[in-house]
Symmetry: C2
Subunit: 147 residues, 2 copies
Amino acid sequence: MVDILHRIGVETPTPEKVYDALTTVDGLAGWWTDDTTGSGDVGGILQFRFLPGGFDMEVVELRPSERVVWRVVDGPEEWIGTTVDWNLRQDGDYTIVLFTHRGWKEPVEFMHHCSTKWGSYLMSLKSLVETGAGAPSPRDVRISDWH
Amino acid sequence: MVDILHRIGVETPTPEKVYDALTTVDGLAGWWTDDTTGSGDVGGILQFRFLPGGFDMEVVELRPSERVVWRVVDGPEEWIGTTVDWNLRQDGDYTIVLFTHRGWKEPVEFMHHCSTKWGSYLMSLKSLVETGAGAPSPRDVRISDWH
């Protein structure tokens, strides 16, 4: 099992706005993909759609302003059964986001792509909270021929 | 042991410019840090310096337009002894860059930071080759309080 790891710091006085951006459909649509539907409550399913396809995430755990855990229940084969874990803490002027997408079976080329792409979306999340505007799909940053 | 993985695609007709950006001091200064010195030849040591410190890389392997391998010989304790492995291949209009920074002892918080930061520097490399201008330190993209 191999994991994707990331860390950003969002300049904001409390983790609340970051937490909202991870747990509400409007917030998620602001940085990941315009085409976000479903429920961000525990036990809810969030549906994220992109041009080539999408992901369905079951919301497994919510600790306000501290932690959000999703399990991938539908999407690309390599993603199904993996876990996306968001941990938040306040450190002075910054909400620190520790991100892990864990449980990949093999470090395939698609995992390399997803790691870079997650980094880019985390910068979109940071921008959303700091400036009010993220870069969700389909206005996301292109990183390769795989988008 | 845990690894950082990334993948970008650089829109360019052959891998030559990407290879040059990984093996010459001028090229490396164009996307990673202005303060790059040393030798990019096999057995050479490349010195990369940033505001808080830097890295010394021994050039372990060079296969023109295919592969570049560095061993970290000085820098932050967590980096020493790790390996940075660049693999290039041409895929139509894109040079595909598969990046692995392998051999971290533990997935510490600093590793999360370095993963996101590498993703950001890979976008700087892509921009350098595609547009002629990267975003090397100290003009790099700030991702957190750790820069």
